[in-house]
Symmetry: C3
Subunit: 417 residues, 3 copies
């Protein structure tokens, strides 16, 4: 009798944990809508259909690719696990052995797959924003498929799949490095191979190309914050009351401090309270806290978020100065603050110390080198084969006509194009 009750109690806990992980999966899913609306809002309306197309197809391709190969590259399991590479075979198992706490105390095999699959697709979405308004659709879709299907899971395995970075002692709670800087490095190489948008930099003059809809951009950032409750909160891998709620608090305080840090910095530097900087400040705080959301006290999360909010403003200005044309600020948010957040684990919180800081640097560096090489090779191959940039004429007229033959807002009169 006692055993039976104990089983029931254990099963209840398993059901609770799995429930939270499924809800976290749904929250991470909604981040894709957040990315879609943010990228759309911060770019020109003549490219809106193209951006919505990319962002609608990325999660689809991401989930399918992750089903086919990604999941088994990222979690090769004990038989195949190697420090650098492993693969557990195509597809996902259909036997139901995993549907119990024997597989994992926090979730079923299905939940594991879908939560990780939703994560995977976000890495490609980060690239999407950086290369917007000039990339060829077909090339981007090929890049995204291979990036999500191969590059992301291999780098992820190094830590989360039990690879060499995990052995070393590198720490990345929910992916400041493994998701955000991975996307960021892919974005950086894309921008370099593509070059800036026509007319963005003329001589030493920077011509701003303001986004066409601030409400869409704001909707995007709020949805991303919402989704981050699942992104960070789900990375606890159970519904553990103390840990998940601490993560909710550090995540929210960092986002809040990021907003305030960016607001103040932009107000001083640019003399105006800049809405796009506040929005990027929120994201900067979120990316910054992601690597150590479970290690920080409320005060430390406030400090990390505030610093990230300052960094992101300087970073956006800096990239524009060196003519790295990033339409949505993806590099500043995901790459720069991703690196900062990863290093912050060695500086703040319960793991702080020189040794840990060194592990963090090694993690940032090895992932960075791998993704830089992988992405560069891929962009190069695409450029030499099918080409990666739309024609000059198409870019000026807008990708919506050129790639899709339609308009996002066919009825509204445009003031300028």
């Amino acid at each position: 009798m006692d055993n039976e009750i104990t089983n029931m109690v254990t099963n209840n806990l398993f059901t609770i944990n799995n429930l939270w992980m499924m809800i976290a999966t749904a929250l991470v899913f909604i981040m894709h809508l957040g990315f879609a609306t943010l990228e759309t809002g911060l770019t020109q309306s003549k490219n809106t259909v193209n951006i919505l197309f990319k962002n609608s197809v990325i999660p689809a391709i991401g989930i399918i690719t992750y089903y086919l190969v990604g999941f088994n590259l990222m979690y090769p399991g004990s038989d195949f696990a190697g420090g650098l590479f492993g693969f557990a075979g195509f597809g996902i198992s259909t036997n139901e052995a995993g549907i119990t706490s024997a597989y994992n105390i926090g979730y079923t095999y299905w939940t594991d797959f879908l939560f990780q699959g939703m994560f995977a697709a976000t890495a490609a979405t980060i690239v999407s924003g950086a290369v917007a308004e000039r990339i060829k659709l077909s090339s981007f879709l090929l890049f995204a498929t291979l990036f999500v299907g191969i590059a992301y899971p291999i780098a992820g395995m190094w830590k989360w799949g039990g690879g060499f970075l995990n052995e070393l002692g590198f720490y990345d709670f929910a992916g400041s490095t493994l998701v955000h800087s991975v996307g960021g490095w892919g974005a950086l190489t894309g921008i370099i191979f593509l070059g800036p948008r026509i007319g963005k930099y003329v001589g030493n003059k920077i011509n701003p190309k303001p986004g066409h809809s601030m409400p869409l951009a704001t909707i995007g950032v709020f949805l991303l914050w919402l989704g981050w409750f699942g992104f960070n909160g789900g990375s606890v891998f159970s519904a553990d009351a103390g840990l998940v709620s601490l993560v909710f608090v550090t995540t929210s305080l960092a986002a809040s401090a990021g907003a305030v840090g960016a607001m103040i910095t932009a107000w001083i530097l640019l003399k105006k309270p800049d809405i796009s900087m506040v929005l990027n400040g929120i994201l900067a705080g979120l990316v910054g806290i992601t690597a150590g959301a479970d290690l920080m006290s409320p005060l430390e999360s406030l400090i990390i978020g505030f610093i990230a909010g300052i960094i992101v403003v300087f970073s956006v200005i800096f990239f524009d100065k060196i003519k790295i044309d990033d339409p949505v600020g993806a590099l500043s948010v995901h790459l720069v603050c991703g690196i900062f957040g990863t290093l912050a684990v060695g500086i703040f919180g319960s793991k702080a110390g020189f040794e840990q800081l060194w592990f963090q640097i090694v993690g940032v560096g090895s992932v960075g080198i791998f993704i830089l090489l992988f992405s560069s090779f891929l962009w190069y191959a695409l450029k030499k084969s099918i080409g990666i940039r739309v024609s000059e004429e198409e870019e000026v007229e807008g990708l919506d006509y050129g790639e899709h033959g339609m308009e996002a807002y066919p009825e509204f009169e445009k003031a300028r194009y």
Copy 2:
């Protein structure tokens, strides 16, 4: 002591199950915003206020109607249950006996009512899109009230309330037939009684009337996918870890494959990667998996979604060819893919077989005939009494002026009307 503990354990499980069902209810609720933004985005801006009005009032009317009569028509209970019709009386019980696992091991009486009520209102929303841009507001509201209050719960009772289709062995997990094709048949009759929009078909020429906002349409589809986690996941009626997480996986893989299937099909047929086809492909995959989301393996859900994505493109083209004017593609998504998904239960997955396929055909057919008759009679009565179509002048000028005396975007200059 043991009994006391066992009670506590059982109560915990009940609380977990009920928690998931409430969250699923909230997710299905947000589908109404998904439908509202999708329908708005895919239609012309001169009818936007009208569409938002319908979609804001439908859930309200749906919930109230379901409270007054629908719930008790759909679940007449043992005393009243008949194979074809039953009614347990007006209103919902206010005695609290149902608030324990004695009522249901998965949820309370209140949760049961609200989850089912949120479902009910979606059937009318499907009709709303198909008859948009020409229907009289008052007639639509009357139709929606009777459709949600009477037609939907009676057909639903045949399976979910223990009626004759349930006795037969018909299977419809979350409503490919009972929700989506029910809405679809109502939509089809509405389109036939109303006729096409002015200027849509001139001789043999089809004049496209492109939607006025692709961002709104995309927001709609993402919110619908999000809501579908509750629509399908909640149809497990408990937080069962294995079953709910399998349903999350099959639902997401089908949606993803639907996007890819529609993308490829449209790219080949129309020579362009069409955003509206991708969006409809996602919905097609979701509707297609709904009848058997708990029966399919990941691979089978991928195949079902992919086929649904192909079907929806051909279907949209076909309906336009036979001059059935469906502004948002509701028939192709909800009726055609609803039927396909229902039949798929007899072809794929753990229930596949000729006998099951026959049960599925009987289910599709009997529900179809009932809704066709009910809707036709209702549209006919409305047409003969208060009329169902706005005046030609009002249709050209837009229903926002004619029905509501206001504009959705009073400040933006319109390029053409």
Copy 3:
């Protein structure tokens, strides 16, 4: 052994309860996006950046302020508690003692803080809508900071922190008075100190200034309804199946009845089915049920919502008549229906009675007087020091240029300004 099992069972229940409270926190968070899009949609596009800025910064400032002082003002604890004022010190405790059911059977210390913090920020957001299109950004941010950090938590302590209104027997389940009317009184004083927008009232003529985007307004209301499941459902402070699901039902029925009540009233009074009145009707129903969402039967919640829907239409017309210029109807929804909902606890439901009605009147009155005095003093001080209203030129040209130097929709041609 038995003790061990009992502990496990108790811990499971704690984990379930805390999980719901965290999800409720996320739902209340999304209300801030709801407020942002609603306020944006109901105002002119020349002030959109300003409104998005305010609404993005408010939750950030709110959460930080609540962290610094608010939480400890609202819940001073046993040592500091007084009937009127108490303070438990700056910041929030970082010791982990609270992370068990010893702190609270329903949630951890972290969850408690974040749920309450999300609530707090909504009070300032209510003010934001009422003073829109003419208030100076810096003054508003200062007002919001002090309002959320000091006024809201002190008034909240009177009931929820164990203060004198709680001792008296005043009842306010989720904040018809403590959140909505608090925001409403702050809004009223703001409107009075600011005066109406230029050109709104010319002699006896009322010039409507229609909102620039009905889709944004509708998105806002749906997100608010969604968030209200967390606002009211989370106010149960546990996942108790019976109570939370009853609250879901009463909340939804009141919102639905509010929509229908406002639709009918507006159709009769204004001769047109008015979308903005239906949207405000939904919110009116939600605010109206908030004080007694756990006390009402389904039928009573329907009646309360319906009455609130009627009241809100008359109230909007009334405030315009007395030249109180409230661009989004915040006073009618939050102040008037907040008071109505609070009094409804003495009229309907399980606590109804003359004594209770008197307690409710005392609660409404004492909170009202305090917030009126606090806000008036604050607005007065701001007006005399840095000023609270933008220049006439800036108001006409739009706050987006004047305060932020940018446009929300730089590409779309405006028809009129």
